[in-house]
């Protein structure tokens, strides 16, 4: 049913319908309303889950890891510095192949202290072995949780996932969301069946010591699982589309790319603003389109190359900066298009909550068409 609600509450509601058995979270800044709403639902017996409040994000994810290893469907949410504090545990969760799903309300990292949005937090964990999905709006933020659990718990994948949605821009925004019923979610997401679990009657160890004779093979297996996750994401997305009528069949999504000379590439809520800007530019006769990257890990390089094969210029919008190089998405799109002859330019935008308007998108397209890029866009030179 269509309802109007805050992004954080839409996520909390959908997580409830996913029937998590253990939720562990650190409830203090940086955090969102998601875990507050879930705590209330657990207290009201709306969810049959163990809710573990802990003293740090490190402990929150550690509790999730243990509960997942014991065979529970688990959930957590964090952002920014909270995710940074989970860094070590993130690698352990992926390495122990636990299908933990965690919402990331993307925010920037200090210093300087900033509570505002960019995607530096999750991007900084791109190599940790977590699937990373990025939502354009609150509907997608909700829907991707269902898909994430389906994919992560698939026995050919067994990896954790971040469902990323822009902090404040989505998390604190009220807008209509089509919320499924419990029955509909149950019809899509079956109960978690662990591949193996900690059991005192049948002991096993996870996360053991791996000597140089074995360590590389473990890493290789995680990478293979990540590669397999692509087709599982497509399958889960296709089944989602069939059941709910919203299209998640692709790892990337093209918007008005037919006949486009210039393509913008972006992730997250900025895609909405870009779509409006593309419509205005198309009306003015400019041949522009958008490629939205929904799945950043596993990285859909062949799908991106295929979607962009007919364009001349690509402008990548990066809400992150790999300091000393360039934006992470731009770097990877360049690699995906290597040898194609397509010109790819990168633009660092919207860091620390800097607003991005339709006019900015049009200006970036102008810059890209002149071949000017690989730059921070919109710097206030007067304060430099």
């Amino acid at each position: 049913m269509m309802e109007i609600m805050e992004g954080s509450h839409a996520v909390a509601e959908i997580v409830k319908y996913c029937r998590p058995q253990v939720i562990a979270a650190y409830p203090i800044t940086p955090q969102t309303h998601i875990v507050e709403a879930l705590a209330q639902m657990v207290a009201n017996c709306e969810i049959d889950a163990e809710y573990i409040t802990v003293e740090s994000e490190f402990s929150a994810l550690s509790a999730c890891l243990g509960a997942s290893a014991a065979g529970s469907r688990v959930y957590s949410a964090t952002t920014s510095q909270g995710l940074a504090l989970m860094f070590e545990v993130c690698f352990n969760v992926a390495g122990m192949r636990q299908p933990v799903v965690m919402s990331i309300a993307n925010r920037s990292l200090g210093a300087p202290l900033s509570i505002w949005n960019d995607q530096q937090d999750s991007i900084s964990l791109r190599d940790s072995g977590w699937i990373q999905l990025y939502a354009e709006d609150n509907q997608e933020a909700a829907d991707l949780h269902l898909i994430a659990y389906r994919v992560c718990e698939d026995h050919s994948v067994l990896l954790p996932a971040f469902v990323c949605f822009d902090g404040f821009i989505l998390s604190h925004t009220y807008e209509p969301v089509d919320m499924p019923t419990q029955e509909e979610v149950d019809g899509y997401l079956p109960p978690f069946v662990p591949y193996q679990r900690l059991d005192a009657k049948d002991p096993l160890s996870m996360g053991m010591y791996a000597t140089p004779e074995y360590y590389m093979e473990f890493r290789y297996e995680i990478d293979r699982a990540m590669q397999r996750a692509k087709q599982v994401l497509v399958r889960a997305g296709t089944e989602f589309s069939e059941q709910f009528g919203r299209d998640y069949t692709g790892l990337v999504e093209g918007y008005r790319l037919d006949g486009a000379d210039t393509a913008l590439v972006a992730m997250g809520s900025i895609c909405g603003t870009v779509k409006d800007a593309v419509d205005e530019m198309r009306d003015a006769g400019k041949k522009v389109g958008l490629l939205k990257i929904r799945t950043f890990r596993p990285f859909p390089a062949p799908e991106i190359a295929d979607a962009l094969r007919d364009v001349g210029t690509v402008a990548v919008l990066d809400k992150n900066i790999s300091l000393g190089n360039s934006g992470a998405v731009g770097t990877e799109v360049k690699a995906a298009l290597y040898g194609s002859g397509i010109r790819v330019l990168d633009y660092i935008i919207g860091l620390g909550g800097r607003d991005v308007r339709k006019e900015d998108i049009a200006k970036i397209v102008d810059l890209a068409e002149k071949g000017e890029g690989d730059m921070f866009y919109g710097l206030r030179t007067e304060v430099l």
Binding site: I4, E6, I115, W116, N117, E136, D137, D166, F168, I169, H172, T173, Y174, E175, P176, S269, I270, C271, G272, T273, K275, D276, G353, D355, V356, R357, K358
Partner: protein
């Protein structure tokens, strides 16, 4: 697409007003999006919140720069903050003040003033004017039906509190020219 910017001070319920106006607009059958000017909200500090209304799904995520409407909860903000900034030609400003407008109003702006503080004090017993001003906004803009506003208020507030807030909104709605 039409846009609303709400000016207030921390503690006056500007963010709540934006949310409830969006809920009421949604109940009235249009797409709506409400969001605060993200910041570290402190009691008394100038704050802003925004609402967008559209007949189509709203994809735009930037802040509001050229609103069709503004609501000013506290006239002492005028001067410190340019509450009319970017307001469109023919735009409507709903301002809480007990006085005749004694501030510079741009020629292209339609100003509606009302003493929302007195209404709120009388009906609610506290000088929290957000729900009163929502009633005035509903009548001035025609963006939301009063029945939808009432529904949104009753969803948010329990029992007597809901009755009182609906009454405050109804009085303002009537004063500005609607028949609730």
């Amino acid at each position: 697409m039409r846009e609303l910017r709400i000016h207030g001070r921390g503690g006056q319920g500007s963010v709540t007003a934006a949310e409830l106006i969006a809920v009421a607009a949604f109940e009235s059958g249009v797409y709506a999006q409400a969001f605060p000017a993200f910041g570290v909200e402190r009691r008394g500090a100038p704050v802003q919140a925004f609402v967008r209304f559209s007949d189509r799904k709203i994809r735009l995520r930037s802040q509001v720069y050229s609103p069709d409407y503004v609501i000013v909860q506290d006239r002492t903000l005028i001067g410190d903050v340019n509450v009319f900034q970017g307001l469109k030609d023919g735009g409507i400003a709903v301002i809480n003040t007990e006085m005749a407008p004694d501030f510079g109003v741009p020629a292209h702006v339609q100003v509606i003033t009302l003493d929302a503080t007195s209404i709120a004090l009388e009906v609610l017993g506290v000088p929290i004017t957000n729900t009163t001003l929502m009633g005035a906004f509903a009548a001035a803009s025609g963006e939301i039906e009063f029945s939808a506003l009432e529904k949104a208020l009753r969803q948010r507030f329990p029992g007597v509190m809901a009755d009182r807030n609906v009454e405050a909104a109804r009085r303002a709605y009537g004063m500005v020219g609607g028949a609730a």
